[in-house]
Symmetry: D2
Subunit: 382 residues, 4 copies
């Protein structure tokens, strides 16, 4: 019988009946369980906002969110025999829902923000109902699609040196308000208590950026059937994950977010001893599974490196923002508000591609939407 | 019988037996032919470097390239009845090779450069032989794949106001050497002669960046079966194209380039009168064809927004560069040099995706390579 | 909370702690539960041989099988409001394993037989271990693939007139030993008792052939995400299902069978009132889900209508048998026995297609195997 | 420059300006050209009815067809060095149209017939216009799809012993009118003249059935990018092909036929010396190309082994006929006549699969239609 780490739905991480996780990264956080190479485990995880969002039509919970509680993770899992320098082979055997709905949203510009916060400064929310592999939303009518379910956040534990290095290199941005430094009050660091808890809570890294251990990768294609090779930086590897997405568009542009949900993930583990040196790997690599939903027709928008009349140099961020804005403006021809289109791009299986990045002075990016997700024809007609 | 605009292979644009094109954008360049909505045409096009690259093992031609001759285009084509404000519907009915090989390469850092010029400053070249839809290269052994053939450069003619605006907005970057201002000596502006030729040659826009009319889009998915909706900015639309790619990776990261080739493209045209306003379109949109080669397994690399120990803010360009460097370093485990891996990433059907772009302070991008293109196993093993 | 009908793994249908089903079709079998249109249910089902096959290396259980116990089904489910003439819309929301292995096998020619019984008269067995969506077998080494999990048997309840008609039309074949007439001793007809049980058990139809209500369709593509429109022949519809397959090749040629397993299926129901007449439907129609595993390369074998030197006329059965035999003979070049190859064809996601069926005097069929399921190269080489 | 065998469009094989082929199989037919292993060739081919069908709305040409002229083939091609026992490796590098339209049709029951001749006894015709990879027909409105272009007929030359064997084994069926014996008057056997021509014309095999050398395989998936391994039975291999299909449904059920066209095929050749014994191959095997058009949603019909109230035993032909009739009846809900639906099934990229073939007494087959080819919704709605 496969071991299963259970959570209580709707209950924030720090108030769970049993300790199941953490919302920071630090190697001194004790493992919640251990598995042997070759063994499986099922991990239940809370939604990425720690149960702060309700199934209703009022976005004030999104507007007033406490983001310092973001990313409750289940873990760390200690893998017997894992040592620094190994590769941890993780198979995503299955992912499933527990609560039969999820949410996507737009954070307010002053609290959370997002890729298009300049254009959409107000909080918004869409609830998505799940029906097997399909989802639809009463807040974005006329759209239905199969999800490419995946964990937004998955990784191994950094060494203490990495913790220090991450905090160091992020400090300049944090000083500008563009990154999040350690924050003790809402840090939940597992079973630690007292002074030890406080020490770790003050030092532990926040969860937002993806880093060399994986972390908040937000790669929509690492769905069921995926194999990941993670570097091991600490004894036992310290695997943890959370932030399940029922579906996500490339870039998860609204930050809040994909279609966010609680759920469970069935995982298998193996080790390649000494694999980091053998394959010169310093970051995880991924072999996505073979079962992503098929789509036959896409509508693709391009963005170029020009914004407000200014030409940018080799700036894929500007180019992707323009591609997204072009898509959002176009979708308004078909009865959607800008906010709805924005929440759709962040949630549906849209492809965001780098195109012509090296073209000088410009670069281009594209965003493509499968036309079959709409119940109306969205192509131009005479 | 479909009309066919023929070029003489191996002969630079300005010395073609008949005038077939241009290498700049300007609305005063006369059309080479006209077609009616509903009609087809076949356009032969030269390779994007205007016949300067030889099928041999010596990269000195790449090193010494005259880039001001880049992008010989076939056109403009005058579409009867097209007026500013319309949408020009372009169907890519077929694309084929003429010369049975193509090239990819690395420009020298001092002449052309590319996305990874800091890491690969020296010129290199790979010749690719075509065998139907498949290609392989004696310079990158052990790799074979089906191409997703497409035009790198395709668009409609800008208005004269747009020409002025483009030159204006690119001037600051041009002053830094990051963009290319108009350059009269090698401008080829079709059938114009004398003073009129000189006036237009001095004013006409260079071809490198993608702009609001399409242009150098370098989108690998606009292959056979694609439909494009272009804005029309001038009477007759002034359609032109060139820069055929047998295959390309997202981003065409080496700039020189994809698998570059001469060839022909069979095109169909139609008009949606007044379509720009009807659909609020200021840039082309694309519906890619349904026949891209299937791949079942991909190896995906992630790049994060950290370079040389510095954390960048929301910078997809840095993230994609790191993803590419991670892939290049990994492929060296399997017998490839860095240059070979770089030329492979720019040429093979790799997917470059925006992942988690809005994550703050960081963002991530991914690059994924289909494993089936290699004749060896490239996954980590125990 | 979705209702779940639970079975006890490893316990034959007639000895389950609670009545959950039946192994015959008859409208007088009482419903085990009811659901409303729009509601979901989860049904657990036993393997198609009613727990007679053990996870070991000895095929004597296959050889000595009691086939009259075949096809324990979970059901019937009464759908509120369903009446004859309606269409019952069934969504396959999810399918999962319970016991982490399954089996495929070859029945002995004298007991069960199969498509190639003349060539493989002896019983054989392969146990398949499940690891998420992938499976492999110690009995057929060097093969691993993702399953296209589906129910082999799914349908609505026939009317009493249909029961009589089915028994009537199958009687001539039954007299020749080519079909199975009603058989009272092992009939399990749900909660019925005493004389009523005996009456129904003597009359109820066997489960092997697919019929107008669906039944033993063995269509490998009706996997997760599939929608089926079933005719309703009785009040309440009487939906039932079983015979889950982890994976199956088209034709399920060995009869015993696909990769057979117990497991659960999450189902949704809806009604189209009067839909049979509205759409002139007398049999179910199917819209397969979008997530079947991708394969990029297939090796395809053809069979023609010639066997033992005799030319057959328009006989797809002969043609498909030759295609299968050609495949089996070929696979023996790579270290497999004929029995292993046969069990692989019945179990792996092979495509069996009708090709040129109307060619006179001949027809052809093909069977295609994805090459990526093997850990060796199976294409001819110089 | 690749050698190209040219035909004159619209001119029957026997009146071509130069001899390019044959419409029978016999090893004494002289090769029209030779190629070396590693070389390519382009073969132009006539349509399968030898230019007897006109682009108009009158099916009388289909009704009055002279079928003894069927299957004009281009060839034989002599491959240098090929000897009996080798495998001839044939790469389908490209296929293209010459005349921009094709046809599908229904033969009259008394002249040609077809799979459903009992139900559709009268001749009918549909003309299909080609627009790049897409086709549509004024005779079957509201349908448009990308073709999976392929040769219906492709093979190597039989030995004289095989010719005798084929004639022998087909004679009993020919006596019943179910097969076609040699027929001298319209036999075209290449450059042979006089008595030698007459001798070969009387002996040469007709082209309809697929046989051990390939021949009239009608496999829709052997499109661009396909590699075929053919047995070599005669010195030089004697490769020939024809009967190009722009698109075809599995089974090509109307016999007349797929979407029939003239066109060209670019081919590459190689040899595996002694490959027949090495791989125990007596028939060709196929590796289909990777670029078949994607479809995301299919509507699937099932046929069971019951016709006119009679239960058949293990008869895939009956089952497939019922599946096709079910599809045809259903499509009539959406404005199509039975004849139109029949001509659509034979022409569109429908999948005809063997399902549950071994189920005793029954078997089932399915036919699936991609829903995206219609400009209306063809699923049942409330």
């Amino acid at each position: 019988m496969t071991k299963r780490i259970k959570m209580k739905p709707g209950t924030r991480l720090s108030e769970q009946p049993e300790n199941i996780g953490m919302n920071r990264w630090h190697p001194d956080i004790p493992a919640i369980t251990h598995v042997k190479p070759g063994e499986d485990i099922i991990l239940e995880t809370l939604d990425f906002l720690d149960c702060q969002i309700a199934n209703n039509d009022d976005p004030s919970d999104v507007r007033d969110i406490d983001l310092t509680r973001a990313h409750p993770l289940t873990g760390p899992i200690y893998i017997d025999g894992a040592e620094p320098g190994d590769l941890l082979v993780v198979d995503i055997l299955d992912i499933g829902t527990i609560t039969p709905y999820g949410f996507s949203g737009i954070f307010a510009k002053e609290n959370g923000g997002g890729f298009l916060a300049e254009y959409f400064p107000n909080a918004a929310k869409a609830i998505w109902d799940f029906h097997g592999i399909y989802t639809s939303s009463r807040h974005i009518p006329g759209v239905r699609f199969a999800g490419l379910t995946h964990p937004g956040l998955i990784g191994t534990m950094p060494s203490i040196d990495m913790v220090h290095e991450w905090n160091r290199r992020e400090a300049p941005l944090a000083a500008e308000g563009k990154a999040k430094p350690p924050y003790e009050p809402t840090a939940y660091v597992g079973a630690l208590k007292g002074a030890e808890r406080d020490r770790v809570a003050k030092e532990a890294c926040r969860t937002v950026p993806p880093r060399e251990h994986g972390g908040n990768t937000d790669i929509k294609n690492i769905s069921i059937g995926t194999r990941i090779y993670f570097p091991v930086f600490t004894k036992g590897a310290g695997f943890a994950m959370g932030d399940l997405h029922f579906s996500q568009g490339d870039g998860e542009i609204a930050f809040c977010g994909a279609i966010e949900m609680d759920g469970y993930t069935h995982l298998g583990f193996d080790l390649i001893k000494g694999g980091m040196a053998k394959y010169k790997l310093k970051q995880p690599i991924f072999v996505p599974g073979p079962t992503d939903p098929k789509f036959e027709k896409w509508l693709m928008f391009e963005g170029i490196c020009v914004e407000d009349g200014k030409q940018y140099y080799l700036d894929a961020t500007v180019a992707y923002r323009r591609a997204c804005m072009n898509a959002i403006e176009y979708l308004q021809n078909f009865g959607y508000t800008g906010e709805q289109a924005y929440m759709l791009l962040t949630a549906a299986p849209v492809e965001g591609r780098i195109g012509g990045i090296v073209d000088i002075p410009n670069c281009a990016c594209t965003v493509a939407i499968p036309t079959g997700i709409f119940d109306q024809d969205i192509l131009p007609r005479k």
